[in-house]
């Protein structure tokens, strides 16, 4: 990763606004029936913050920063596994009509 400079910040800001706009359109296209799974998925992906936690936990030896990083990894992992799994459970329940529920004339 490069050093922090105003240029890097402006690039970050550009990315941020473009991502907000993408998010806006993508989320409006989500069908209301799937709003709960949407929360499950967003919950899981927001835990991509684990990337920062891994960097902090990365160096060898033990110091304050590393302990914070490891705690961060644990917390984010709970969310990643939990978020994706609960979303999977929800989505696997959404079924089309089957033989059991006969098509009505």
């Amino acid at each position: 990763m490069e050093a922090h400079s105003s240029e890097v910040f402006v690039i970050g800001l550009t990315v941020f606004f473009l991502a907000c706009i993408i998010g806006y359109y993508v989320v409006w296209s989500v069908t209301p029936a799937l709003h709960s799974p949407l929360m499950g998925v967003t919950n899981a992906i927001s835990s991509v913050i684990i990337v920062g936690a891994i960097l902090a936990a990365g160096p060898q030896g033990f110091d304050t920063s590393k302990i914070f990083g490891l705690i961060g990894v644990v917390l984010a992992s709970v969310n990643i596994f939990g978020g994706f799994l609960v979303t999977y459970r929800m989505l696997s329940m959404f079924k089309k009509k089957t033989k059991k529920t006969k098509e009505k004339e």
């Binding site: 990763m1 922090h4 890097v8 970050g12 941020f16 991502a19 907000c20 993408i22 993508v26 989320v27 409006w28 296209s29 989500v30 069908t31 209301p32 799937l34 709003h35 709960s36 799974p37 949407l38 929360m39 919950n43 899981a44 992906i45 927001s46 991509v48 913050i49 990337v51 920062g52 936690a53 960097l55 936990a57 990365g58 160096p59 060898q60 110091d63 920063s65 990083g69 961060g72 990894v73 917390l75 984010a76 992992s77 709970v78 969310n79 990643i80 596994f81 939990g82 978020g83 994706f84 609960v86 989505l91 329940m93 959404f94 089309k96 009509k97 089957t98 059991k100 529920t101 004339e105």
Partner: protein
């Protein structure tokens, strides 16, 4: 790995996250979307593990295993009716993780290339403290929301004098602390920001009542995204910025949809003090009005002789766990050749889309479950509306009575169907404390009792 390679892998991961959300536009594509999300996360984690500075694989691996085991255990065990609590609990973890990552960056800025201890770049300090601030608010707000949803804390809004003034004051204190932190770079100030932000998170959620929880849960969803964004800026990591923005936007849109479903502005919900479970004194004023009461056999008879039924489920159905019995009832009616459909109000339940998940859990095909806009014009052509555990979302006062607190809220027009069956535990009012005039109409039959028991009894009568 070169920094370009890292950037490209992170980009792929971000794109996969976007596809994960895009997949949710339809139930058929949604499962694939979830898989995209998982792949994206795996790429992000492994790319980071490849960093030269990352050496302690055992510790990190163990941390992931511990967290993963806890997360999987909870996700596989949780009852679908308890989803809102679960989501609130998960949000609190994202917030807390953000605080820890920010703290780690502050204590070891070299690992993140943002300067040295005592001389961290100003921009990084600002971003770090904003990330911490949002993360801490998300944490405590979600913990409180969890308590309210779980029922460990009363769902009643707690209001006190000068509440908003105090919150505004605390907010100003936090801004002051951030400025001080940027100048002094002191750990004491950092942790003071954390503690004061945690306090603010509690105070922000405290005045919001139980039934406004769909908005709160969505809002905290949004915050958790912005917190990730803040950390993304601190680390100059585009993946975190993009993902944070996606999540932030998602939560914000859901909050907007929920507030609109109640015809209230987000500000109005946030300021709170509305969604209290008022006592039932309102219904006493109507003691002179006549309510037509029926039992399961009556309901079975009415529905059996209809050719179309719309079922309107609400939070009461979730509380009674009546979705399976309800589906069984629907199945029998369908076998009789009756057109059975379900109508979902945007704010039914305690989180966005909650009712849809519960009905899906009970094996109701999603084609039969319709949103307010899709089904509302069909009520006049419908013979029977079967309202189970919902109240305010069917109250015609929202359209006619300007003095009503729910005036202007979009409602399901059950009153336009030929007859209405209301499954309710008692004559108590809904969360808004407003009496529902529908109860006293000639074509309404009240079915008093537990929602699950009532459905089971109707099933018995239907099969008899």
């Amino acid at each position: 790995m070169s920094s370009n390679m890292v950037a490209i892998l992170y980009l792929i991961s971000a794109l996969l996250f976007i596809f994960a959300l895009r997949g949710l536009s339809h139930p058929e594509s949604s499962r694939m979307g979830n898989i995209f999300g998982i792949i994206g996360m795996i790429i992000a984690v492994f790319t980071t593990l490849m960093f030269k500075s990352v050496l302690s694989y055992y510790e990190i691996g163990a941390a992931i295993l511990i967290g993963g085991a806890i997360g999987s255990f909870i996700a596989l065990r949780i009852e679908m009716t308890a989803l809102p609590q679960l989501v609130a609990a998960f949000h609190s973890l994202v917030g807390l993780a953000a605080v820890f990552v920010a703290a780690a960056a502050f204590y070891d800025p070299v690992a993140f290339s943002i300067g040295k201890v005592g001389s961290i770049k100003t921009a990084s300090l600002v971003e770090m403290s904003i990330g911490t601030f949002i993360g801490a608010i998300t944490f405590s707000g979600s913990v409180l929301a969890f308590g309210k949803l779980q029922g460990t804390i009363s769902g009643k809004p707690i209001v006190f004098k000068f509440q908003h003034l105090i919150n505004a004051l605390i907010f100003l204190i936090i801004i002051f602390l951030i400025v001080l932190f940027v100048i002094k770079q002191s750990p004491t100030i950092f942790w003071t920001i954390v503690i004061v932000s945690i306090l603010l998170g509690f105070l922000v959620v405290i005045p919001i009542g139980g039934a406004d929880m769909p908005v709160v849960v969505s809002m905290l969803n949004s915050y958790s995204g912005w917190a990730a964004c803040g950390i993304g800026f601190t680390l100059s990591n585009n993946l975190l910025i993009i993902t944070g923005a996606l999540v932030g936007a998602s939560g914000a849109i859901l909050s907007y949809i929920m507030s609109k479903g109640m015809n209230r502005s987000i500000i109005n919900v946030v300021l709170g003090g509305f969604g209290g479970e008022q006592d039932t004194s309102a219904s006493k004023d109507n003691s002179d009005k006549i309510v037509k009461q029926g039992n399961a056999e009556d309901a079975a008879y009415i529905m059996k002789n209809a050719d179309s039924v719309i079922i309107v489920p609400g939070y009461g159905m979730a509380v009674a766990q009546a979705q399976h019995a309800l589906r069984e009832m629907g199945d029998i009616l369908k076998k009789e050749g009756i057109d059975v459909r379900y109508a979902i109000h945007p704010v039914a339940g305690r989180m966005p889309g909650h009712m849809n998940v519960l009905l899906a859990e009970a094996n109701v095909p999603y084609e039969e479950v319709l949103e307010l806009d899709e089904i509302n014009h069909d009520f006049p052509m419908t013979e029977v509306s079967f309202v189970i555990g919902a109240n305010d979302v069917t109250n015609p006062a929202a359209k006619t009575d300007e003095s009503s607190p729910i005036f202007g809220m979009p409602i399901l027009d059950v009153e336009k169907s030929q007859s209405v069956l209301f499954v309710k535990r008692s004559m108590a009012t809904g969360y808004s404390g407003v009496d529902n005039e529908l109860f006293y109409r000639d074509n309404t039959t009240m079915l008093f009792g537990d929602a699950k028991k009532m459905c089971e009894d109707i099933v018995k009568s239907l099969s008899a």
